[in-house]
C-alpha cells in the first residue's frame, strides 16, 4: 500500500496519510467538489482498516501500524467539508475496536468556532479519542 500525499492548493489542504499511521490534514478546505476531492482519502483509510483482513495475495505483506494519529489543522472549511469529516470519523469509529486511534483537532485559540467544531466531533463520537489542541497565534 502506498502513502497518500496531496499537496495544498489555494482551496484544498495538504494531506499526508503515511502507512506508519501518521496522518495529517492541514490547511484550508474549500474544494469545488468536496466529496470528489476527499474520495481518495476515504478510499485510502477504508483500505488501511481492511487490508489485514484481506488475503495477502495482491498486497505487500508489510504489516501496518495498529496505532493511528490524525492531526487535523484546518484553518477554514466549508460545510460540505464539515460533513465529510463526520463521515471520516464514522469510518474511524467503526474500526476503533481493532485500532488505537487518536485524533488531534488543532485550532487557533482565538477562533471560537473552530473550537466548537471540535467539541461537536467529541459530542458525536463519544467513543473516539478526540483531543482539542489550542495553538497560540
Amino acid at each position: 500500500m502506498e502513502n497518500l500525499n496531496i499537496e495544498a492548493t489555494k482551496y484544498t489542504p495538504e494531506i499526508i496519510f503515511d502507512k506508519s499511521g501518521k496522518l495529517s490534514i492541514k490547511g484550508k478546505s474549500y474544494p469545488e467538489n468536496t466529496f470528489e476531492f476527499y474520495a481518495p482519502v476515504m478510499g485510502w483509510i477504508k483500505l488501511y482498516f481492511l487490508i489485514d483482513t484481506l488475503p495477502k495475495l495482491h498486497f505487500s505483506t508489510d504489516s501496518l501500524s495498529k496505532e493511528l494519529t490524525l492531526d487535523m489543522e484546518i484553518i477554514y472549511f466549508n460545510s460540505s467539508s464539515s460533513k465529510l469529516f463526520f463521515d471520516l470519523f464514522d469510518v474511524f469509529e467503526e474500526n476503533k475496536e481493532n485500532f488505537d486511534i487518536t485524533i488531534n483537532w488543532l485550532y487557533d485559540e482565538d477562533n471560537e468556532s473552530a473550537r466548537e467544531a471540535g467539541e461537536d466531533f467529541i459530542e458525536d463520537f463519544e467513543n473516539l479519542n478526540i483531543k482539542l489542541v489550542p495553538k497560540q497565534r
Binding site: S82, K83, N111, A117, D124
Partner: protein
C-alpha cells in the same frame, strides 16, 4: 397444524431493531446536518470578521506608509533648504504656490484648462510630491557652488594666503634695505614716483575688486583691463607645492614650482583646472539630457574667473548648478513609484524647460510638457524672484516680479495661459499676502498682462 410463531417474533423483533437503528441513525444525521449548518454559518461569520479586521489593518498600514513617505519627502525637502541658507524656504514655498495654481486650473473650465482636472486625491498627491521634490537633486550640489558669491570664492587652502604674506614681508625687508641704500637720492623725486606707482596699484586693485563681484555685465574692454593688470609681475621666493593636500599638490606639480620665479599678478594655471572624471556620458545621453557638458569639471583660473562677463559663475559651475535637475530626474526615476504616482518624475523634472526647446536639461517644448509641469515652472520662478531670504540678491517687488514673468511669457520661456491664470485667479495675490514682505507688495495692474 401448529404454527411456530417464535421465528416470526424473532424476525419481527429483528426488523423492529433494524428499523429503530435506522431511525436513530437518520435522526442523528438530521441533528448532524443542523449542527453542520449552524457551525458553518458561525464560521463564515468568524471568517468574515477576520477578513474585515485584516482589511482594516491593511488600510491602517497603507495610511501609515503614506504618512511615512510624506514625512520622508518633507525631510528631504527640509534637508535641501537647510543645506544652503541661500535657497531658504524654497522647497517649502514652491508646493504652496504650485498647489494653489493647480487648484485654480482645476476650477477653470476655459481654454487649455477645459479638460484639465485633478480628479482624485492621488492626482493631487502626485503633484504635491513632485513639487516637494522638484529640487531634490540639489542634495548632490556642492554648497560652495550653490553658495558661490564672488568669482574668486572657492574651497580655499589658506596656505596660499599665508605664503603671500610671507612674500609681502619678504619684500618689506628688501624695500627697507633699498631705501637705506638710496638715501643719497633726491627724496622728492622718489616720493612722487612712488606715489604715482602706488596710486596705479590702488586703481588696479579697484578694477579687480569690482570685477570680482560680478554684479555688472563685463564689456570686452573690462576684460582686457583685467588681462593687462594680470601681467604685473612679482617674484615668488617660496615653494608653492608644499603644505598642500595630495590632490592639490598633484595639480600644482604641473606648474612651475621653482624658486625664485617671476609670477604674474593674476594667472590661469594648469593647476587651476580640475578634470572631469567618472562622468557617465552614456547614461546622460540615454536619459535625453542635452545640456552641453563642459570639458573640465572646474576651472579656478584667476583671469578666467574674473573675466566671466555675467554673474559669478564659470560655465563649469553653471553646469554643476544645472546638474541639480538631472540629479532630481535621475533620483526620482530610480524610485519605484506606484502607478498612481508615476508622473512625479515628469512633473518635478521639467521646471527649467521652456515652451520652445531652449530650456534644460532636455530641451523640451510645450507639447512635451503636461500642465502640472508648466505650473511647476512658473511656481519655481515666481518663488525665486520674490524670496526675501537669499543673501546674494534683494527680493523683487510684486510688480517687478510679474513684469519679469510677463517678459518670460513673451520669450516663451513660460506658459502664457498659466501666467494669465496665475493673475486672473488671484493666486499671485494670495501667495504674496502670505509670503512676501509688506514692502514688496506694491500696486500692480494685472489687467494689462491678461
Amino acid at each position: 397444524m401448529k404454527i411456530d410463531i417464535n421465528p416470526m417474533i424473532i424476525e419481527l423483533e429483528n426488523l423492529k431493531n433494524e428499523f429503530s437503528k435506522t431511525t436513530n441513525k437518520l435522526i442523528k444525521n438530521i441533528d448532524r446536518q443542523d449542527k453542520i449548518m449552524f457551525r458553518s454559518d458561525k464560521r463564515q461569520q468568524y471568517e468574515y470578521d477576520h477578513l474585515q479586521d485584516r482589511l482594516a489593518e491593511v488600510e491602517r498600514l497603507e495610511l501609515a506608509q503614506k504618512e511615512l513617505m510624506d514625512s520622508f519627502i518633507i525631510l528631504i525637502a527640509g534637508a535641501i533648504d537647510a543645506k544652503s541658507k541661500y535657497t531658504g524656504g524654497h522647497c517649502e514655498r514652491v508646493p504652496e504656490l504650485a498647489m494653489a495654481l493647480a487648484q485654480a486650473a482645476n476650477d477653470c473650465n476655459e481654454g487649455i484648462f477645459a479638460n484639465f482636472e485633478l480628479k482624485t486625491e492621488d492626482d493631487i498627491r502626485e503633484l504635491k510630491i513632485a513639487s516637494w521634490l522638484h529640487d531634490c537633486g540639489k542634495v548632490t550640489t556642492p554648497e560652495y557652488v550653490v553658495d558661490k558669491a564672488t568669482k574668486l570664492e572657492t574651497i580655499y587652502n589658506r596656505i596660499h594666503e599665508i605664503r603671500t604674506r610671507f612674500e609681502v614681508i619678504y619684500r618689506d625687508f628688501q624695500i627697507i634695505a633699498l631705501e637705506r641704500k638710496l638715501q643719497g637720492e633726491n627724496a622728492a623725486d622718489v616720493e612722487s614716483w612712488l606715489n604715482i606707482e602706488l596710486q596705479k596699484l590702488q586703481d588696479d586693485f579697484q578694477v579687480v575688486a569690482k570685477a570680482n563681484l560680478g554684479a555688472e555685465f563685463m564689456q570686452k574692454e573690462d576684460q582686457e583691463k583685467i588681462k593687462i593688470i594680470a601681467q604685473r609681475e612679482w617674484i615668488r621666493h617660496f615653494d608653492c607645492s608644499i603644505g598642500l593636500a595630495f590632490e592639490e599638490r598633484e595639480r600644482v606639480k604641473k606648474d612651475n614650482t621653482q624658486t625664485p620665479n617671476i609670477e604674474q599678478l593674476l594667472s590661469d594655471k594648469q593647476s587651476h583646472i580640475q578634470p572631469r572624471e567618472h562622468f557617465d556620458y552614456e547614461d546622460y545621453e540615454a536619459r535625453g539630457f542635452k545640456m552641453p557638458v563642459p570639458e573640465h569639471l572646474y576651472n579656478f583660473g584667476e583671469v578666467y574667473n574674473l573675466t566671466q562677463n555675467r554673474g559669478t559663475l564659470t560655465p563649469e559651475e553653471r553646469f554643476k548648478i544645472n546638474e541639480h535637475i538631472t540629479m532630481t530626474i535621475k533620483m526620482l526615476e530610480t524610485l519605484p513609484f506606484p502607478s498612481n504616482l508615476k508622473n512625479v518624475p515628469i512633473y518635478a523634472g521639467m521646471h527649467h524647460e521652456t515652451m520652445i526647446g531652449t530650456g534644460y536639461p532636455r530641451k523640451l517644448t510645450i507639447d512635451d510638457m503636461p500642465i502640472p509641469a508648466r505650473i511647476m515652472a512658473i511656481a519655481d520662478v515666481f518663488e525665486a524672484l520674490t524670496a526675501s531670504d537669499r543673501p546674494y540678491k534683494d527680493p523683487k517687488t510684486l510688480s517687478d516680479s510679474i513684469k519679469i514673468l510677463s517678459s518670460m511669457v513673451e520669450k516663451q520661456h513660460i506658459d502664457g495661459d498659466i501666467f494669465s491664470l496665475f493673475l486672473s485667479s488671484g493666486v499671485y495675490k494670495k501667495y504674496s499676502d502670505k509670503f512676501l514682505k509688506p514692502e514688496q507688495i506694491d500696486r500692480v495692474d494685472v489687467t494689462k498682462y491678461i
